[in-house]
Symmetry: C2
Amino acid sequence: MPKNPSATQREIRQTRPFRSKTQEAVIALLRTADLVKRHFAAVLTPHGITLPQYNVLRVLRGAGPDGLPTLEVGQRLIEQAPGITRMMDRLEARGWVRRERCPGDRRQVLCYLTPEGASLLGQLDEPIDRADQAAFAVLTEEQQTLLITLLDATRQGPHLTKAQLD
Amino acid sequence: MPKNPSATQREIRQTRPFRSKTQEAVIALLRTADLVKRHFAAVLTPHGITLPQYNVLRVLRGAGPDGLPTLEVGQRLIEQAPGITRMMDRLEARGWVRRERCPGDRRQVLCYLTPEGASLLGQLDEPIDRADQAAFAVLTEEQQTLLITLLDATRQGPHLTKAQLD
DNA sequence: AGCAGCTACTTGACATGACAACCATTGTCC
DNA sequence: GGACAATGGTTGTCATGTCAAGTAGCTGCT
């Protein structure tokens, strides 16, 4: 593959080159993720929903009619509890989610997707699938597989030990 | 806890497989970026600075003694103007940045890194470099190059078409 | 000169995202 | 059975990120 000398570099308008290959990888990763997020936001905004909200609804749809405790939703999204609570407030206000205290364990609050929420998700499936495809349309299937492998490896990797922190 | 099924998939605890390779790529990308961001945040938090703030300071350091107009900083970070203004407020309050109305064009506000800001950056260079290395330590140099190429290609891809057409 | 239009911010409002503190339940252990 | 820790949420605060609207200053055209 031809090495584009400055795709990322020119975007940042940086005078000096990257200090290291790794630094370039970090910046490429963060900027790409940011761009892809914006791309999805552009699809969702006209429907009055944000990307995190959409993800919550998808999790609830995946949970089926039994619903899910609030924090379970958060865990599946790697999000912190407080954020989930407030997001759920809004989703409930919009009528996409229903909440109910769990009779078995009254500490828990079970969250369910409402028919309205399911309907919204149904409308979004196609556009979101298309957005998925569009985001990586330039890569072949093999290249996508390779990318996934590299990203998965990065996530599994030894990132920082506490000794390295300072 | 089991140890080794499918990396990304197990994290999300999703019952069904990904609907497409592309969807898997999207999720892998977003989650990896998120994780890497958290690692940098862990390095920066003890120093009382956030990742976006750190990036602003780096841009200002790169600008040198001539400073940069507020929105120029924003452009180099792909951030919107309002966010930059407020972040700069905080950076100025912390003494890391100095602002001054441009005499030539009184609409602009030039931002400069203060010696205190420069000193902070100096302290952070090493830990941040180590964090860069650690983030991709599992990948060889060639794999990093490959990853960068794939990510760059993704960013140049068709989801940018409208913006690129002008 | 004078005014329309553009530029560079600034402010306000709202949605995340993270942390800390707090409350109600539940589980545990003596 | 009663103190106490752990669990599951909620609330408050702060920093970002984004959009919409407003303001001050500059530019071009007449």
